[in-house]
């Protein structure tokens, strides 16, 4: 094990730096002390899978570089939308150790709300001037953030807060229940139809290299996501609220003793997560359309991404999302042996199961959530 010795020692004799870890079968995180030796056979199989994947990717690259890079860019775009949702899961899991099943549905509800808002209130469409579109989109992002944040925080306020001292199972089941409720609200208000927004961002190419096209639309997604991630990183790392969040994630009792208002910090986390989901929803709308049940599947994919990166780890969530986005894009791409979009869900969940079997702590397997 390449575990740094001093850290292990520290971990053994100091207050357990728990907060977040993949909960495997060890009796308790405190009693764990040393990392369990993973069976060698399992790691070999796992590495074998990864190696096979890379062989396949290399083959695709050599065989058809144009398609490869086109698909790569699609994956990048898709991954950055997933990242915004996955961050919400990871933030909440980091602080409450709760899989917030309702998160994906908050995403869908926000998307639907914004779609109807853009169409009915803002009257934005392809013919509007560039300035109007940009201003309008800025307003749209702002409203989406506020809306998503408000919905997410009120879920916490209404349901999860009352269960703070309840068994974990109770809270988890409540989260499933809330997911159904939000999904049904979407259904009741916005009906079963898919909603989309007009083509606000041009689909023309930013650049064409060889046969590789990169559209403004894709660039727009990246241009929005990157600053958001930077701001988030700043908020979590340097602001008072961010510090309170990290402290609470590490040890709620101790941080309460230190004068941190734990409940308010948790609410803040939900606000943050909801806001990210709101931005993600608008970006998703730019490329795809949304229905009441879009959020469920997308949420599961994003959650998988969060687990892949190491849940509770912000950087991990982004990395995991990019990887999952790539996997989805390549799976649906025109390559040999690519199973196609019929199998996307199975593949994503297969990956989830594989991670939990082979490397439950995720790629950036840190035990603390403040890895951003």
């Amino acid at each position: 094990m390449t575990e740094e010795g001093g850290d292990t020692l520290l971990r053994r004799f100091s207050i357990p730096r728990i907060a977040v870890e993949a909960r495997t079968e060890e009796p308790s995180p405190r009693a764990r002390g040393r990392r369990r030796q993973r069976p060698a056979a399992l790691s070999i199989i796992g590495l074998g899978f990864v190696a096979l994947l890379f062989v396949w990717l290399g083959y695709c690259l050599v065989n058809n570089p144009n398609d490869f890079f086109t698909i790569f860019l699609i994956g990048l775009t898709q991954g950055s939308v997933y990242a915004l949702v996955a961050l919400g899961y990871t933030l909440v899991y980091g602080i409450l150790q709760l899989i917030n099943f309702a998160h994906g549905d908050v995403f869908a509800l926000t998307g639907l709300f914004m779609a109807s808002l853009i169409a009915n209130r803002f009257h934005l469409d392809e013919t509007s001037g560039a300035g109007v579109i940009l201003l309008g989109l800025a307003a749209v992002f702002l409203i989406a953030m506020v809306f998503g944040a408000a919905v997410n925080a009120s879920i916490e306020l209404l349901a999860y807060r009352r269960l703070r001292n309840a068994p974990r199972l109770a809270v988890l089941i409540t989260a499933v229940g809330m997911s159904f409720i939000i999904q049904n609200i979407s259904l009741a208000v916005f009906d079963v139809n898919f909603r989309s927004i007009p083509q606000l961002i041009s689909e023309r190419d930013v650049f064409v290299i060889g046969g590789v096209h990169y559209t403004w639309e894709a660039l727009f997604v990246i241009l929005v996501t990157l600053p958001v991630l930077l701001v988030l990183s700043y908020v979590v790392r340097s602001t008072r609220h961010g510090k309170a969040m990290r402290a609470t994630a590490q040890d709620p009792e101790a941080s309460a003793m230190m004068g941190i208002n734990v409940n308010r910090t948790i609410s803040f986390t939900f606000l943050l997560a909801g806001g990210l989901a709101g931005i993600g929803a608008v970006l998703f709308l730019v490329e795809f359309n949304v229905r009441y049940d879009t959020g469920f599947e997308l949420g599961l994919i994003a959650f998988t991404a969060a687990v892949l990166g190491g849940i509770g780890n912000l950087l991990g969530a982004v990395l995991g999302s990019l990887i999952i986005g790539m996997i989805q894009a390549f799976n649906e791409g025109p390559f040999i042996f690519a199973p196609g979009s019929d199998w996307t869900r199975s593949i994503v969940f297969g990956i989830l199961i594989a991670i939990l079997v082979f490397r439950p702590e995720g790629l950036l397997g840190e035990r603390t959530p403040e890895g951003a």
Partner: protein, 452 residues
């Protein structure tokens, strides 16, 4: 101290007589209660169940004399055909109760077992595999029919065993994980398996599941011609004019078998091990219970009943279709277990019956009744559309206000009150004092174990 006891008895007597005299109703209740406790033990123990059973078995006979159309609130009583579905779903809930209720493992993908069961029936008792011709005790199909046709009675067992095997395969890699991770992995399997059956219509050109069309027709149960001629048992259900009734009685029989098996299991060595794990996994492991094996057994047995139920309903519907197996079904079954009370068989049966009825036709009926009688024509509502929202509300409200369920199992209730520490029972936060000032001084009799 005989003296004090005498005084106490006298006080009790006077209190009782007072209470009895207070009103006629109380007196009647007291008499009833006294009469009830005077009954012999077995009658008290099995009487209510047998009474319910008789009412249920005779249901098809008196259904026609029940009022139909515009019965207050429920609009009409369920048809025998709906009742079959209700009972089979209840059976699945009882199976899920083994996993969630007894062993405390949250399973969000129970629908996978339903699917495996249904498709096993499809493979073993239909014309799906045209390449072969294999008959074994099949009824209701001609002798030259292609495909595998095995007697449904056997298929029920085979499908259940196959599903149990599937449960073990799913369980082995995942049961190492704790609580919420297990939930998400089971959810993953619950999504993978339906997608697999939807897509597996040309695996290298081999049609395993017939894609979105599903496998149909699937043979129906029956006793064959020789038994029909000698004893008068129906040769094949599908050929009978009262097929629904036959399916109904068989479903009741299956449900009874499931319930009896689950009660026996609960009181067995294995069942006690499950409950020990549910109460405190660490302590159970320390006492020498093999955790992995015990949990895998819970998974396998839960899957067994799910598989049998799936196979039976596939035979009843004469088909297995991929659209039947959505995540909603998993949550719906979980909802039954929660509503009834995790670990409480009778609770799960009652809640399962109610929720399954709501799902099959109850909600639609209630909606119709409300629209007919309460809401004006301009404000009609579509209750069935909010079905899953209603389940969501039920789940959330139950978790908030009555987490032990409607009919809680005595032991589970005590656990809830004392605060057990099962795999999922460790509280999210142990934070007294953060939002309730002075909570620390109150001095809980049991100091909560620190998290972790």
């Amino acid at each position: 101290m005989p003296r004090r006891r005498d005084t106490a008895r006298a006080t009790m007597r006077s209190y009782r007589s007072q209470a009895a005299h207070r009103s006629g109703l109380n007196a009647a209740r007291a008499t009833l209660r006294r009469g009830w406790y005077r009954l012999p033990g077995p009658v008290r123990r099995f009487g209510p169940a047998i009474l319910v059973l008789i009412v249920a078995v005779l249901y098809p006979y008196y259904l026609s004399s029940l009022p139909t159309g515009n019965v207050p609130l429920i609009y009409s009583f369920p048809s025998v055909r709906s009742a079959v579905t209700i009972i089979v779903f209840t059976m699945m809930a009882v199976g899920l109760n083994v996993v969630v209720g007894y062993c405390g493992l949250l399973d969000l993908g129970y629908v996978a077992f339903y699917a495996i069961g249904a498709y096993s029936a499809g493979w073993l008792a239909s014309g799906q595999f045209e390449q072969v011709k294999f008959h074994f005790g099949s009824v209701g199909v001609t002798h030259d029919a292609r495909g595998i046709h095995i007697s449904i009675w056997l298929v029920l067992i085979l499908a259940a065993m196959l599903t149990a095997l599937g449960g073990i395969l799913i369980g082995l890699p995942t049961l190492r994980l704790r609580g919420d991770y297990l939930a998400i992995v089971t959810l993953g399997f619950g999504e993978i398996i339906p997608q697999f059956v939807r897509n597996a219509d040309s695996l290298h050109g081999f049609d395993l599941t017939h894609g979105t069309f599903g496998i149909s027709p699937i043979d129906s149960p029956g006793f064959g011609n020789s038994l029909h001629d000698r004893v008068g048992l129906p040769a094949a259900y599908s050929a009978q004019f009262n097929a629904d009734r036959l399916f109904y009685w068989t479903a009741i029989l299956l449900l009874i078998l499931t319930i009896v098996a689950c009660i026996q299991l609960r009181d067995s060595r294995l069942g006690r091990a499950w409950i020990a794990i549910r109460e405190d996994e660490t302590a159970a492991g320390a006492m020498g219970i093999p955790l992995m094996r015990t949990k895998t057994w819970a998974y396998a047995i839960g899957a067994f009943f799910g598989g049998a139920a799936g196979a039976y309903i596939a035979s009843f519907n004469a088909g297995a279709f991929p659209s039947q197996f959505s995540f909603n079904i998993s949550v719906f079954l979980l909802c039954m277990v929660i509503l009834g009370g995790m670990g409480s068989i009778w609770g799960v049966v009652v809640a399962g019956g109610i929720l399954a009825w709501l799902n099959v036709e109850g909600l639609a009926n209630i909606g119709t009744w409300l629209n007919d009688n309460l809401f004006p024509a301009s404000h009609q509502i579509e209750v069935a559309k909010y079905q899953f929202g209603i389940y969501g509300v039920i789940i959330v409200l139950m978790m908030m206000f009555r987490p032990q369920g409607l009919i809680p199992e005595a032991r589970r209730k005590r656990e809830m009150e004392e605060g057990g520490r099962g795999p999922l029972d460790e509280p999210l936060y142990e934070m007294r004092g953060a939002d309730e000032p002075g909570a620390g001084e109150r001095g809980a009799p049991e100091q909560p174990i620190p998290r972790g």
